[in-house]
Amino acid sequence: MEGSSDGVIVSRVLRGDVDAYRVLVERYRDRYARYAFHMLGNREDAEEALQDAFTRAYRSLARCEDPERFGAWLFRILVNRCRTLGARRGRRAKTFVVDEGAILDAAEDHPADRAAWREEIDRALHRLRADQREAFLLKYVEDMGYDEMSQLTGVGVSALKMRVMRACDRLRELLSEVHSA
């Protein structure tokens, strides 16, 4: 069943095969955890948002209008959960935990420098406004086009372009401060 399309698995779940849903969880959890982690700033909140998204998606699975695109539908739910959770916990101090085991070896730098640099990127990312961070992550980390982003977020293309541009400017500014320090 692991090789089956999303649509086939969704059909099985809708016919009462609850265990089939695990395949969808395995399929999407890592990629979507990445988005939630960068959006929310810590692993606990990211896992909570992701679990909530999977649970909500299951509960409303019969309302998924295009089961073959379950992943895109789930992502939309996750983006909204991150917005809600992020707003609720906006004032809470963020912790930036870098999972050493997940860091790729970098050829050009010493691994320790590389890890420190990535922490700086995380810090800079979380100094962005939430809407700019969201737009930047969707555009560059999730590699989405503006039309797709617009569909997902309900925000117009020109507004999204503006958010991405401001996010890039701010990131550049923050990271150059680190470099010059």
Binding site: E47, F54, V98, I103, L104, G154, R172
Partner: protein, 197 residues
């Protein structure tokens, strides 16, 4: 590629690489949460019911439609099906006691009707009952001919709702306008409840 664009791509690459892996127990936690929810079933019924417009336009549906129209007449239900459905004629005068001179306006009694010939159970869920399919006041009764209805209190104002068939299948009201639910990217039905004059 301009330098700035290249830099952003590099930052994005580093962000992808620095993401934590999800804890191994995550899948089990999700599946435990999922198993605590009602199990999905009856996809074929869902397929039929998710084409609500067919209920009113197919020739074969005339007998059912006639039954539902008769039912509506019996209950004195009168609603406009144009731009916005207005629950304009709550069928029972406000029966809820006022709690004070400046009290919040009482809910109005609104009748919900769904034609679902193969359903075993129909409930109404909405923002007015916490989307709770088990809420006792919102369980529809079978009136014959596949017509289900319930008359229940709904506060004055704009609301979103849906029918839940057999505890698992969500169906929008074929007679009401549909509005998008941002969380799920799917539609609910919309209702405007006005104060009875």
């Amino acid at each position: 590629m301009p330098d700035d664009e290249l830099n952003m791509r590099r930052i994005a690459r580093d962000l992808r690489a620095s993401s934590p892996r999800v804890d191994k127990s995550f899948d089990d936690r999700v599946m435990a949460a999922v198993r605590s929810l009602p199990r999905h079933a009856r996809l074929t019924l869902w397929s039929r019911l998710t084409a609500p417009r067919t209920v009113t336009v197919k020739p074969l549906g005339w007998s059912v439609l006639a039954a539902s129209v008769a039912l509506l007449a019996i209950f004195g239900f009168n609603r406009a099906v144009d731009d916005v459905r207005v629950a304009s004629k709550p069928i029972v005068a406000a029966v809820f006691p006022k709690t004070g001179a400046a009290a919040v306006k009482p809910p109005q009694r609104v009748q919900f009707v769904l034609v679902a010939p193969e359903a075993k159970k129909v409930a109404v869920v909405g923002d007015f009952n916490g989307w709770d399919a088990g809420h006792a006041s919102y369980q529809a009764q079978h009136r014959g001919g596949g017509v289900w209805s319930v008359t229940a209190p709904v506060p004055i104002g704009h609301h979103r709702y849906s029918f839940v068939v057999d505890d698992s299948v969500w169906v929008t009201d074929p007679m009401a306008p549909r509005v998008m639910d941002n969380d799920y990217g799917v539609a609910n039905s919309a209702i405007v409840v006005e104060e009875q004059k």
